[in-house]
């Protein structure tokens, strides 16, 4: 455990250099949030409610969802690259579990990002764009828990794509497909509850809504009562399922590497 | 054909203080240091000369070549190549020069070498017939045959450099600048490349300005060298005359059956220096022909030690350059 902690810290340090990349990134994110804000304000022009949601609830949802969805991607790309250029063979000889190492690095990156990127923008959004606080404090805490599970789930799903690089050459296409599916079915763009009925049903059977929709909807109060706990349990169930699939795939992949040399 | 007068290039370097405080301070106050990479250089090179341009890393070689080829504008002084000022009439100058910049490829990465050449044909507007003839000849001299159909990214370093060289000469330029053309190559490829350069020079009177760290390149290709250090010309003249001037310094290597330490025979005290042996029982003696001749050195050693073998080394341009760096001309 200790070495993964150190790996994570090293990644945090690496990302901490303030640079033109950082400031440009902040500006770009703010612009995006502003477009979202203007768009939804226009949607609510002459309307009090859309799909049973008042404006400030909707704004809270779409802005938080946009922020959270930045954390859904992760280690898969890095892994795919290492598989592609053959570095994975060297990595496998090192005294750590490569999967855990990648997750640790990814976590480090996400922690720095949340502090220097997301936090300032969220504060600005609270002050100027009328985002509301969680409807109860308990729900606020549960939504944070749920968001963390969601981030892990997103990273694990991403990892599947990375492992597939052992068999599929055109991993890039898979990534784009993944991005489009994530963006849509995670609820990053708008609440799943606005989807047409049949799409909502489809979405319920997919793991993606656990990544963004569930945590944010708990926060805004679109999911309430016992549904909150069942949703979180469902998230955990998905996490276990996806983790099992990854371990299985990974052992197949390792066999492939050790037998065929990558 | 290349005229360089008082050529100078200065860079201003902004001094950065470390840390965030330094960065903020840097917004208001800026400290500059001026670095003079090329300092008042003069030379002229005639059509058909093969010139070696030598200096340590950071001596100003690349900066000079960039100014000659029109990439950089000098801070002071003037360059004329074929009667035009390269950095003012860049495109016109480019039409008549060729260049190899070390490891940076001028070919197109993803396409077959032949297609790269065909694209260069269009860029330089080479007539079809001339292009075909030149390419045929290069293919033979550089043995490009098996490479022409391969994309550049699949070539080995040596194969790539052969193709690069052909690309630099393809449009029959009157001057070619070669920046480290043999770096990292094996002997066979180096030999082929040297032969090609000499051949092109003989056929078309192509002027070649060559920078290299490989003294063998210089010895085999060049008939003139310019040595540059800290932006200034240290030496400009023929290879033969510098050898003559510094060449009295010679070295004889002995392989001895030693029992104990080697000590310099009395007869040679003050006339020769011992070069610490790299291996057990191997000794080098360096001396000036002015002080003592080779036969005397050998007989003095033979008188005191059992010699298994000995070799007399020719004066190498490498040692000469080294000496010039150390002591000046």
């Amino acid at each position: 455990m200790r070495k993964y902690w150190e790996l994570m810290k090293s990644q945090i340090k690496l990302d901490s250099a303030y640079s033109i990349w950082y400031w440009s990134g902040i500006v770009a994110t703010m612009l995006r949030v502003f477009v979202i804000y203007s768009f939804w304000n226009a949607v609510y022009d002459h309307r009090v409610e859309v799909s049973n949601m008042p404006l400030n609830m909707m704004l809270t949802y779409v802005i938080l969802a946009a922020m959270l969805s930045n954390y859904s991607a992760g280690v898969g790309y890095e892994l795919a690259n290492q598989v592609r250029d053959g570095n994975v063979a060297i990595e496998l000889m090192r005294p750590y579990d490569l999967m855990h190492k990648l997750v640790a690095l990814d976590l480090g990156m996400k922690i720095t990002n949340s502090i220097r990127n997301t936090l300032p923008i969220l504060i600005l959004a609270f002050l100027f764009l009328g985002i509301s606080l969680p409807h109860t404090w308990l729900m606020g805490l549960l939504s944070i828990l749920s968001a963390i599970i969601g981030i892990f789930l997103g990273a694990q799903l991403d990892m599947i794509i990375g492992i597939l690089a052992f068999w599929v050459f055109y991993i890039w296409g898979l990534r784009v497909l993944r991005n489009a599916v994530f963006l849509f079915f995670s609820g990053a763009l708008l609440p799943i509850s606005m989807f047409p009925e049949w799409l909502q049903t489809v979405s319920e059977f997919l793991p993606f809504q656990s990544i963004v929709y569930v945590p944010v909807a708990i926060y805004t109060g679109q999911i309430i009562g016992n549904d909150v706990y069942t949703s979180i349990l469902l998230q955990l169930a998905w996490l276990v399922v996806v983790y099992t699939i990854i371990r299985l795939l990974w052992s197949f992949a390792l066999r492939k590497v050790t037998i065929f040399g990558g | 054909m290349i005229e360089v007068r008082g050529l100078t290039k200065e860079y201003t370097i902004v001094k950065k203080s470390p840390g965030l405080r330094g960065a903020i301070k840097g917004l208001f106050v800026r400290d500059y240091t001026v670095k003079r990479a090329v300092d008042d250089i003069n030379f002229s090179i005639n059509q058909g000369e093969l010139v070696g341009y030598i200096g340590a890393n950071g001596a100003g070689k690349s900066t000079t070549i960039k100014m000659l080829s029109g990439i950089l504008t000098p801070s002071a002084g003037e360059v004329k190549v074929n009667g035009i000022i390269p950095y003012e009439q860049r495109k016109k100058n480019a039409q008549r020069i060729g260049a190899v910049f070390g490891q940076r490829t001028q070919l197109f990465w993803d396409i077959a070498v032949r297609e790269s050449y065909s694209l260069l044909k269009h860029i330089y507007q080479i007539p079809d017939k001339q292009h075909k003839d030149t390419l045929d000849m290069f293919t033979e001299v550089l043995n490009l045959g098996p490479l022409l159909g391969t994309p550049v990214r699949q070539l080995s370093l040596g194969q790539k450099m052969r193709c690069e060289l052909a690309a630099a000469f393809l449009h029959n330029p009157s001057i070619v600048y070669l920046d480290e053309p043999t770096i990292g190559l094996d002997v066979a490829v180096k030999t082929r490349i040297r032969a090609f350069i000499k051949e092109m020079n003989k056929l078309h009177q192509t002027t070649v300005l060559l920078t290299t760290h490989d003294m063998q390149d210089i010895e085999e290709i060049c008939n003139r060298i310019i040595i540059i250090d800290e932006g200034k010309v240290l030496y400009d003249g023929s290879l033969a005359s510098i050898k003559e001037r510094f060449g009295q310094k010679r070295v004889i290597h002995f392989e001895l059956e030693l029992e104990g330490e080697f000590s310099l025979p009395d007869a040679l005290q003050g006339k020769a220096d011992v070069i610490a042996g790299e291996e057990e029982g191997k000794i080098g003696l360096s001396f000036s022909s002015g002080d003592v001749n080779a036969a005397d050195v050998i007989s003095a050693v033979l008188a005191e030690y059992r010699v298994r073998d000995l070799t007399i080394a020719d004066p190498k341009i490498e040692t000469i350059v080294h000496e010039i760096y150390e002591r000046g001309v």
Binding site: I20, W21, W23, S24, G25, V27, A28, L31, R32, V35, S38, F39, N41, A42, V43, D45, R47, V50, S51, F169, Y170, W172, G173, V176, L177, N179, A180, L183, F184, L189, L190, M194, P196 | Y11, T63, K66, S69, G70, I71, L72, T73, S75, R90, K91, K92, A94, Q95, I97, F101, R104, F108, D110, I111, E115, S118, L119, H122, I123, Y124, Q125
Partner: protein
């Protein structure tokens, strides 16, 4: 002169197509991926319009029309001018730009001709699909003159996208790599998907007169869609495009000069 460059571009173009044909699967995946991503964005708008009838007075197909113009214009820029993004990272930083300067052709032309972005084709296809869908569903009689005007406006749109990128790419001559700045500025083009009336005056001013993304889609669209107050300004698009290109090229020239006095 123009003739020579056109012929030369054709040679580069043929070469790129040949390479693309070698990597056919990559090529197809690239096009598909653009289709998917753009599809997601349109799906999003469609779902929102299930719940509302109009956005600031703009109907679904009118919004699609704006979107279609922007995507088609952007596709032109994406296909032919994409290499500008890599000016700092792939040319100036590794010293490859030196090579452009010892060739007897215009270095900007050379950088642009070095790459053909095949994904631009995917972008163009979806742009046209969206555009035509919107055009068919809007209550407008499309005459030959309208279509020609629309084509001109789309070309202007592409030119504006290109000019903005060229301007900020040219900063690479001073700061080595301006990709992050280009990226941040490019985010502004997100604003152009929707009617500009939904933004505040300040934002509109910036998008009209400073970074004229407003002319890439919204103002041109108002020329055809009846309910807007901007009808005349849309006609300025070609003028704005020309001015933007001139300014951007001026900065490029200045950058080139700075480069030749400092090197990389």
């Amino acid at each position: 002169m123009i003739n020579r460059y056109a012929r030369l571009y054709w040679e580069f173009f043929k070469m790129h197509v040949k390479v693309k044909m070698e990597y056919r699967v990559d090529f197809l995946i690239g096009i598909l991926s653009v289709l998917l991503i753009q599809g997601t964005a349109i799906f999003f708008v469609a779902i929102v319009f299930q719940h509302i009838e109009a956005l600031h007075g703009w109907t679904f197909y009118q919004i699609l029309f704006i979107y279609g113009i922007a995507q088609t214009g952007r596709a032109l820029e994406f296909a032919f001018f994409d290499n500008l993004w890599l000016l700092g990272q792939d040319y100036i930083r590794p010293g490859k730009f030196d090579r452009m300067l010892v060739r007897p052709i215009n270095p900007l032309f050379h950088v642009l001709a070095d790459k053909l972005q095949a994904d631009g084709l995917g972008q163009g296809i979806i742009g046209l699909i969206v555009l035509i869908t919107a055009m068919v569903n809007l209550p407008i009689e499309w005459g030959m003159g309208d279509l020609l005007l629309l084509a001109l406006l789309i070309v202007s749109s592409g030119a504006i996208f290109m000019a903005v990128n060229l301007f900020f790419a040219s900063l690479s001559f001073w700061i080595v790599d301006s990709i992050p700045i280009m990226g941040a500025v490019f985010t502004l083009s997100d604003f152009t998907r929707y009617p500009m009336t939904i933004y505040s005056k300040g934002v509109r001013f910036v998008l009209t007169w400073l970074i004229p993304y407003g002319f890439t889609a919204f103002y041109p669209a108002t020329l055809f869609v009846e309910n807007a107050d901007f009808e005349k300004i849309g006609l300025l698009s070609p003028v704005v495009a020309t001015i933007a290109v001139v300014i951007a090229y001026w900065l490029w020239k200045k950058g080139l000069k700075a480069f030749s006095s400092t090197g990389s």
